[in-house]
């Protein structure tokens, strides 16, 4: 397991306390899981993705990640409609372990811009991890 100071926590994404990250790209936001989350889960062997067009509320479960350890839900850090899912992960779920910030899981069109500003900065997220 990685020590907290070994975690990759880039500053160009924003985080949720459930260990998802969100990155604004124009009108939409890509969502994935943090390096901390993938390290805790261990090898991810299966991903269940939502259908494009599904609408989620902030905090709602949008899919599951199956690791060798457990079945874990992933939660929408923002409310919005799914405009794309990363189908590369269907055949290669391990990409999330290998590069968690390149391998986004879903892309949302947010329904409430203010929610993005309520996410955690890198430093705030680090403080959450340090407890």
């Amino acid at each position: 397991m990685k020590e907290i100071d070994e975690l990759d926590l880039p500053g160009d994404v924003y985080y949720s306390s459930d260990h998802e990250w969100a990155r604004k790209e124009g009108e939409t936001v890509k969502i994935g899981i943090s390096d901390y989350a993938q390290d805790q889960l261990g090898d991810i062997v299966f991903i269940e993705l939502p259908d494009v067009g599904t609408v989620f509320e902030r905090g709602e479960e949008f899919g599951t990640l199956e690791s060798v350890k457990a079945v874990s839900e992933v939660y929408a850090p923002l409310s919005g409609e799914v405009v794309a899912v990363n189908t590369d992960l269907v055949d290669a779920p391990e990409l999330v372990n290998e590069a968690p910030y390149e391998n986004w899981i879903i892309e949302l069109r947010p329904s409430d811009e203010d929610e993005y500003d309520e996410l955690l900065s890198r430093d705030d997220y680090l403080a959450v991890l340090q407890g």
């Binding site: 397991m1 990685k2 261990g42 090898d43 299966f46 199956e66 060798v68 350890k69 457990a70 079945v71």
Partner: protein
């Protein structure tokens, strides 16, 4: 002993695991590695394609010695020691090992064990983590047997070296590899855990050890026992000698998925404090082929034969890697949606996948149907306990109320396992 909360114990390899950044968890009262940064998937696969190294020093080792040692074990163990070796079957003899159970009077499982005969009247009994005191007490409580029972818990290191390259790795560090390995058949052992014991097996550096051709992965390999003080050095020697075979340190997650794919039970999870009946492991009972009775009396036998309650344990495999979390509300549903039981184990064997109607393993020969470019996604697998018998091939669903996965009842899970391959073949690769 104090009344302080019990701190998990550490094996002698604990610092090595931490230095390798293993993800640790408590298991059986010990802090153990779940996986290393390699990841459980690659660790699992290393045991099918090369070699894996497991710290199993948490397991408990007893010896039972004395003029009544054999009759005590015959009274307490489910195998008939007069007829448990080979096809004939013949008696347990010095240098042979046998797997079975210790049952309680009511026919429930105290623990499972491998018993190895070390000499004419001395036996090594290896049981699960933390079970040394309970099994010692159980054996010691039987009246009228002149035996000495020694609990070696905490005094020995134990390392499992498993995988098709295991003999090649081990022979690089043994002082006399040909003498030790040449005729070493499945479920046999050489050397001793006590330096005073007979016919020692030595490493090149003179360290004595016990080499047992057994394991808990379904794959070819060894369980290796030696003094605590020699364990870390030996582990590092094996890692160095195994480098060219891509030897991989493996944690408990890989151990669990490997044993499940090999249809081996985890004591206190798949077998435990309930009646031992109608399981995939009924070969451990001393069935008398002629009349469907037992060939000897033993503790628990009458309860097994006289029971009126009936349940069934069966193995299953799914169709993709998805697991079901094993919780109180996890149930097995039959084709009509009736709840017929519960899930004991559910994990993912990461070295197998379905190819048409069959399950194929990374260890399946291409001539036996492994497709070129076989990249298994893994299949969920495990054991269920049901109130009615499930037939092989039957489709059932496992659900925790939220997720529901279809699985197939099976006699076996991961095909083409290497555990029983000949030593000659494995040394001449």
């Amino acid at each position: 002993m104090t009344s302080e909360p019990m701190q998990p114990a550490r094996t002698v390899l604990y610092d090595w695991h931490l230095a390798q950044h293993a993800t640790m968890a408590e298991f059986g009262g010990y802090q153990m590695p779940l996986w290393y940064p390699t990841g459980a998937k690659q660790e699992h696969r290393a045991v099918l394609t090369g070699a894996g190294l497991f710290d199993t020093s948490h397991m408990a080792v007893l010896t039972v010695a004395g003029s009544d040692a054999r009759s005590l074990l015959q009274h307490c163990f489910t195998r008939d020691l007069r007829r448990c070796i080979g096809a004939s079957p013949g008696p347990l003899t010095t240098g042979r090992c046998v797997y079975g159970l210790f049952l309680k009077e009511k026919g429930t499982v105290l623990d499972d064990a491998i018993i190895s005969q070390l000499s004419e009247d001395r036996y090594m009994v290896v049981v699960n983590s933390g079970m040394g005191p309970a099994v010692s007490e159980h054996l010691g409580a039987q009246q009228g047997f002149r035996v000495e029972i020694i609990d070696y818990s905490g005094r020995l290191g134990k390392i499992d070296l498993q995988g098709p390259a295991a003999a090649l790795v081990l022979e690089a560090v043994l002082a006399e590899p040909d003498r030790v390995l040449a005729d070493m058949i499945y479920f046999s052992c050489k050397g001793d855990i006590d330096p005073a014991g007979g016919a020692p097996v030595l490493l090149k550096n003179g360290t004595p050890l016990l080499v047992s051709r057994t394991g808990y992965t379904g794959e070819f390999g060894f369980e290796l026992y030696l003094a605590v003080a020699d364990t870390v050095g030996f582990w590092e020697q094996l890692i160095a000698a195994g480098e060219r075979f891509a030897i991989t340190a493996c944690g408990l997650a890989a151990r669990d998925s490997l044993r499940t794919g090999a249809v081996l039970p985890l004591s206190h999870q798949d077998i435990g404090d309930w009646l031992f009946q109608n399981t995939p492991w009924s070969f451990v009972l001393p069935w008398d082929e002629q009349d469907g009775r037992f060939s000897k009396p033993f503790i628990g036998a009458e309860a097994l034969l006289g029971s009126s309650e009936v349940d069934y344990t069966a193995a299953f495999a799914g169709y993709d890697p998805r697991k079901i979390p094993v919780m109180d509300n996890t149930v097995v549903l039959d084709e009509d949606g009736e709840a017929i039981g519960r899930v004991l184990t559910c994990t993912t064997d990461m070295a197998i996948d379905r190819v048409g109607e069959r399950i194929v393993s990374m260890a399946t020969a291409d001539s036996a149907g492994r497709p070129p470019d076989f990249h298994p996604r893994g299949l969920s697998c495990g054991f269920i306990r049901t109130t009615r018998q499930c037939r092989s091939g039957e489709q059932v669903r496992l659900t925790d109320g939220k997720r529901s996965i279809p699985v197939e009842i099976r006699q076996d899970i991961r095909p083409d396992r290497t555990a029983r391959r000949s030593m000659r073949e494995m040394r001449n690769q």
